[in-house]
């Protein structure tokens, strides 16, 4: 295995993008990443694209070929593969791209992630997201996707004394970060009261505890680290790529509040990088719901199990805290076009390590972690990046 570098990044605006098509979005993100990397299109050896449910969202499958075509690579006959792992599709695509370069099979790989969720109505988007849960044994009985995370929250409140206020503070913090991210869907602050008094979706989670329905695409260019200098002086290294699975249904897990896929993907990543959670300077974690960020910082080992809520009270995870979490605004404020999310998280970390995060820049960031979850935790990827 050889070292792999991220040499270019590209994002579209995240939000309700009525005027832009799926093809335009992915082509825009890919073109930005390639331009940023300094490679020429001819040098692309392979492509990997994460998309959760293009079939249900836009009525189109065969996304690998479509993306190669829309990005102008069809006549170069570049191999292009779509990867799916629900909301972790983007993280899986990054890891497949990483493996392709690390193995020596390919030198330059373009990774993309995309979802166009607003072409269907809100109800239909919610039901499509629910297909990440166990359709036969959860959704059939009336459990919604927010409902499943709400059950994690209820148990977390019971076992550890976590409060609705602490969960709401996660949303408040991530919106404060989103204000500073020009690509974010929501660039406005929200108050604690607004989160606590929002329409109830699935007790104890209100509307503002949930990430939005979003359109958007993200892309990165990967290359062998030893060749990165040839193209750019802004490269960052991927020093670990962990992945793990768990039961599809939440109920089948021994401990409802621990996402074992996160624990195991993190363990794999820390081992590969020869690091501990203390070595991480900042993290992008999968806050599809506010409770998910609380569980994530526990399961990634940043705080003890049960102390995720307290970490919010103690301002550990704010931009000026000891471990800034979701400086991009997270899924909550930046938006959550599900297939794009895992790639966009790696982009935020890369920008921070390059010193290109503008007003949200964390001083002296050297090592960052990106954590992407599919469903209620049946799939997880953890990538660790280091400044070069």
């Amino acid at each position: 295995m050889r070292d792999v570098a991220v040499i270019g990044v590209g994002l579209t605006q995240f939000g309700e993008l009525w005027e832009k098509s799926f093809r335009e979005l992915i082509a825009e993100a890919g073109a930005k990443a390639i331009l940023d990397s300094g490679i020429s299109g001819k040098e692309v050896d392979a492509m990997y694209v994460g998309s959760m449910s293009s079939g249900r969202f836009i009525g189109q499958e065969h996304i690998g070929a479509l993306v190669a075509d829309a990005s102008g690579f069809s006549f170069a006959h570049v191999p292009s593969t779509r990867v799916e792992g629900a909301c972790a599709s983007g993280g899986l695509a990054v890891r497949q791209g990483y493996l392709a370069v690390a193995s020596g099979m390919h030198d330059v790989v373009v990774v993309g992630g995309i979802e166009k969720m607003n072409d269907v109505g809100g109800t239909s988007a919610t039901e499509t997201l629910a297909t990440a849960a166990d359709q036969e044994w959860e959704a059939f009985f009336g459990a919604t996707f927010p409902g499943i995370y709400a059950m994690i929250a209820t148990r977390h409140m019971h076992d550890y004394g976590t409060t609705r206020e602490q969960m709401a503070q996660v949303a408040v913090k991530n919106h404060m970060n989103g204000v500073l991210n020009p690509y974010a869907q929501y660039r406005k602050e929200i108050s604690l009261d607004a989160v606590l008094n929002a329409t109830m979706v699935a007790y104890p989670l209100g509307l503002l505890d949930c990430s939005p329905v979003s359109d958007g695409a993200a892309s990165i260019v990967l290359c062998a680290a030893e060749k990165a200098k040839k193209y750019t002086n802004k490269a960052v290294k991927i020093i670990a790529a962990g992945q793990a699975s768990d039961t599809l249904a939440l109920h089948a897990r021994e401990n409802i509040c621990t996402l074992q896929a996160t624990v195991h993907a993190a363990k794999m990543a820390y081992k590969q990088a020869n690091l501990t959670p203390k070595d991480i300077d900042l993290a992008e974690v999968h806050d599809c719901f506010t409770i998910a960020e609380i569980c994530a910082i526990e399961d990634l080992g940043f705080v003890k199990k049960g102390e995720g809520g307290k970490a919010i009270d103690n301002r550990i995870t704010t931009r000026d805290g000891s471990l800034p979490v979701n400086t991009s605004g997270g899924l909550k404020a930046k938006g959550h076009p599900v297939g794009a999310t895992g790639v966009a998280q790696v982009i935020e970390i890369a920008l921070q390590l390059r010193g290109d995060a503008e007003k949200r820049q964390v001083p002296d960031a050297r090592i960052g972690l990106a954590h992407n979850v599919g469903g209620s935790g049946a799939t997880c990827t953890v990538h660790i990046l280091e400044a070069m």
Binding site: E127, Q135, F140, F141, G142, A143, A150, T199, A202, L250
Partner: protein, 135 residues
């Protein structure tokens, strides 16, 4: 979800009978039944035995669904819980015949056979288990 008639039809016996199975190697009980024990894998092959479950258990966690899928719209707000059955397996189900304020972690419940979803466009009506407070 209406389009998936065949799949739901296939699952109906377990939803009706509460029939699980037991690994002959480690004695763990599964519901829904599994082809093989995920802990013993090869050692469990040919040793999975059917087991009748009582449908009794207790609430591990719960939520109150305020925004439901189309097929459940008429039922909101409704409680959904994870139930730990006496025999060990945990499952997801709705709690009925009970004030929302009475629901708490540790509540003892038993299964009851009910209509689950409103009639979809396919005309199929789906039945299965829900849970009510133990008498």
């Amino acid at each position: 979800m209406g389009e998936a008639v065949a799949r739901f039809w296939r699952e109906i016996p377990q939803r009706y009978n509460f029939m699980g199975n037991k690994c002959g190697s480690c004695e763990r009980i599964f519901f829904p039944p599994r082809e093989a024990c995920p802990f013993c894998r090869r050692k469990s092959m040919g040793k999975m035995q059917e087991v009748q479950l009582t449908g009794k258990g207790e609430v591990v966690t719960y939520t109150i669904i305020h925004v439901g899928p189309e097929e459940f719209e008429e039922q909101v707000p409704y409680p959904i819980a994870i139930i730990k059955l006496e025999e060990g397996p945990q499952i997801t189900g709705q709690i009925v015949d009970c004030s929302i304020d009475d629901i708490h972690i540790g509540l003892k419940v038993e299964s009851t056979f009910r209509r689950i979803q409103a009639e979809g466009y396919t005309g199929a009506i789906y039945y299965g288990y829900k849970f009510k407070k133990c008498e």
